[in-house]
């Protein structure tokens, strides 16, 4: 018997009983649903939790606060020129700026890269994310955004353009909006690469990007 058939047979023989039905996953839907999951739904139950969103607070400040807590930072950029200027301003010594967005041309466009190994010398990578998640301070990036996935992790510093209107509340909302199977790779990136492996001291730039900068810029600014 193949390993596959042997394992499936063993599993079938040993399935615990009684079988438990699949619970409904209420997801983020709030209106009219009793058990929606998400922070606004439950704000009245929040005691004085430092950093928690305020009932009347718009989403963006919460997102920015969470991103900062994860070690990232964010700036507003009015248009493409401002975004390009910001990158130049933040990374004056960068020799290789590899860009996957039209707003910031950089010194190399990702479309010219054939092999991920070519990205080992990138000082700054620039990409656009289609989705931000407020509670996690995270941005979503797929192969479609990165073109070469390694751009997200080999760049010494990463700059992510994000439309402020594309920020959702919780991970439930986020998973409701993405089609996982549509891309071979997709990552929620919350701040830069980090480690606490030596005496719990938080250090940024463990293996991936040393810093993560989100530039808040309207999608229509192109």
């Amino acid at each position: 018997m193949s390993a596959r058939d042997a394992i499936l047979a063993a599993v079938r023989k040993n399935l615990p009983r009684p079988a438990v039905p699949l619970p409904e996953n209420p997801g983020p839907e709030r209106k009219g649903v009793k058990h929606g999951l998400g922070y606004k739904e439950h704000l009245t139950r929040l005691p004085e939790v430092p950093g928690a969103p305020d009932v009347n607070e718009p989403l963006l400040p919460y997102f920015r606060r969470q991103l900062e807590a994860m070690g990232g930072r964010s700036f507003e950029a009015a248009d493409a020129a401002a975004a390009g200027a910001k990158v130049a301003d933040l990374f004056p010594d960068a020799k290789v700026v590899c860009s996957a967005v039209p707003e910031v041309p950089g010194t190399r466009t990702i479309e010219t890269v054939r092999d991920p190994h070519e990205l080992n010398d990138v000082d700054v990578g620039v990409v656009r994310s289609p989705l931000g998640v407020a509670e996690a301070g995270a941005v979503w990036l797929t192969q479609a955004d990165l073109v070469v996935n390694a751009l997200g992790v080999l760049s010494q510093h990463l700059v992510v353009l994000l439309d402020p209107a594309a920020v959702v509340e919780t991970m439930h909302d986020a998973y409701g909006r993405i089609d996982l199977a549509a891309s071979p790779y997709g990552v929620f990136l919350a701040g830069p690469s980090a480690t606490g492996d030596i005496e719990g001291v938080i250090i940024h730039g463990a293996q991936g990007a040393r810093s993560l900068t989100v530039l808040l810029i309207d999608q229509t600014s192109r």
Binding site: S2, A3, R4, I7, A10, V11, K13, L15, P16, A19, L22, N25, P28, H35, L37, Y39, R45, L46, V49, Q66, M70, H117, A138, V148, N149, A150, G152, V153, L154, T170, M171, H172, A174, Y175, G176, L180, A181, A182, S183, P184, Y185, G186, V187, F188, A190, P192, S193, A194, T195, G196, D197, I198, E199, G200, V201, I203, A206, Q207, G208, A209
Partner: protein
């Protein structure tokens, strides 16, 4: 009968290193503290726990169905799917894939399953260079030790230990023990290995039946580099990692890092669905006693574990004795209930390496009845007559009294204070070998003994 591991002796040696013990205790308790703060920010936490628990219950009671669904969807995406009954078969399958691609060097991210299978020594013996890329895991590899914690593998080491180790192995300045410099040195050392690797290997935190993909959570992004740079990515996935739907990830991802470290999410939550452009993706679905466990009415719930480590961080015995004291791949309360299922004889001491205070059960995000399972393993061990005599008097005395419901509930009621301070009493009482080197408790030996003997008669 296999010689059992000796958790007390190992713990005693760790406790003897005063600085190590106190730093470890502080750091691990700090993670538990951060977890509490993060949980307080999610008012629907208990709803999430209940949902997570039921989704896992459901998946495990329909596991054959979800494995087949995952396999079919993964194949449709162009992933090569392999199956392995046990550790040996897993290692052989991995080696075959690597050999077919003429892999000479391999960069891997942390995988407790690959650890469980003893994969690295297996591959090294066959001429493949294997480099751990997670900082903590690499420290452990250089020190030739297993991970002492499933989330932070080198948490038992002081910065000076790491400085001495790196000085010897990768040529850093032995006097520089600044964690920033040490981490930077490892970044510089690891990057060329990522560039030169012929393959990257990862584990998986979740596998989604509905989509045929899997999720890997790291803070360093090292799994992502291993998957994005070398042309070949091989992932080992325990069959219990399945979840039914993509949207269920919302529940589990919200809980995982909050439970582990107290952050809302890991820095990288990475989803792999089929090979990347220009790459090849293989997954190995591994049983290795999981299907046996599924058939045990008392113990199958352990398969719900999402390896967050919260039970370890809260455990007074783990905090004091350190993870290496368990002498097993998995340590802490989760290790106590996993170990005996792999090898009862070898790990028969582990169920007694616990105070049964119940804190692990309280923090578990998927509601595993951890302390009940520890108690049930004690009974299994006792029923097999495997208890050494000293244990029957000393260790089980402590265990049995604390297993007593009224005491158990008293401990629960006293809450946070008790948890932070109770260990001192538990650990430094004279019946307890972990406390031997320390001050005696206020409770006189004779009284405690008499009380225990009384108690044993009535329980």
């Amino acid at each position: 009968m296999t010689r059992p591991v000796d958790p007390e002796g190992r713990a005693a040696r760790f406790i003897a290193l005063e600085m190590h013990e106190s730093t470890h205790d502080r750091l691990v308790w700090g993670m538990r503290h951060n977890r509490d703060k993060a949980v307080a920010g999610v008012p629907e936490w208990e709803d999430l726990r209940e949902l997570a628990s039921r989704i896992k219950d459901h998946t495990l009671t329909h596991l054959d169905h979800y494995l087949e669904e995952f396999e079919a969807n993964a194949i449709r995406l162009g992933t090569h799917v392999h199956w392995a009954r046990d550790a040996e078969e897993h290692n052989a399958v991995v080696y075959d894939v690597l050999a077919a691609h003429r892999v000479k060097s391999l960069i891997k991210s942390k995988s407790m399953l690959q650890e469980e299978c003893g994969m690295t020594p297996y591959l090294q013996k066959r001429g493949i260079e294997v480099t751990e890329s997670d900082l903590g895991e690499r420290i452990q590899q250089l020190a030739d030790e297993p991970p002492s914690h499933i989330v932070v593998p080198a948490i038992h080491k002081l910065r000076t230990d790491v400085a001495a180790l790196f000085a010897e192995k990768i040529g850093t300045d032995p006097k520089d023990s600044d964690p920033h410099d040490l981490a930077e040195a490892m970044r510089q050392n690891a990057r060329p290995k990522f560039m030169a690797a012929d393959a990257g290997m990862t584990g998986a935190n979740f596998a989604v039946a509905e989509t045929g993909g899997f999720v890997v959570c790291t803070n360093e992004g090292n799994a992502d580099i291993g998957a994005a740079v070398p042309p070949l990515h091989v992932a080992s996935i325990g069959i219990e990692k399945l979840i039914p739907r993509a949207r269920d990830l919302g529940i589990f991802i919200r809980m995982l890092s909050r439970s582990a470290l107290g952050s809302p999410i890991t820095q990288y939550t990475s989803h792999f669905h089929g090979p990347r452009r220009g790459g090849e993706l293989h997954v190995v679905l591994v049983d290795n006693t999981r299907s046996d466990r599924l058939g045990s009415p008392d113990f199958w719930h352990v398969l719900k574990c999402i390896r967050c480590g919260a039970c370890m961080n809260t455990c007074p015995v783990y905090r004091r004795g350190g993870g290496l004291s368990y002498g097993a791949t998995y340590s802490g309360p989760i290790g106590v209930i996993l170990g005996p299922g792999f090898d009862l004889s070898k790990y028969r001491e582990l169920p007694f390496h616990s105070s049964l205070c119940g804190s692990c059960t309280e923090v578990c995000p998927v509601k595993i009845d951890i302390s009940d399972q520890i108690y049930k393993w004690r009974r299994v061990v006792a029923a097999k007559g495997m208890l050494p005599l000293a244990k029957r008097v000393g260790m089980s005395a402590l265990g049995a009294t604390l297993a007593h419901p009224s005491l158990f509930h008293a401990a629960e009621a006293t809450g946070e204070w008790a948890l932070a301070h109770l260990p001192r009493f538990l650990l430094y009482n004279p019946l307890n070998p972990w406390g031997k080197r320390r001050e005696l408790p206020a409770v006189p030996k004779q009284t405690f003994r008499q009380w225990y003997l009384e108690n044993r008669r009535t329980s």
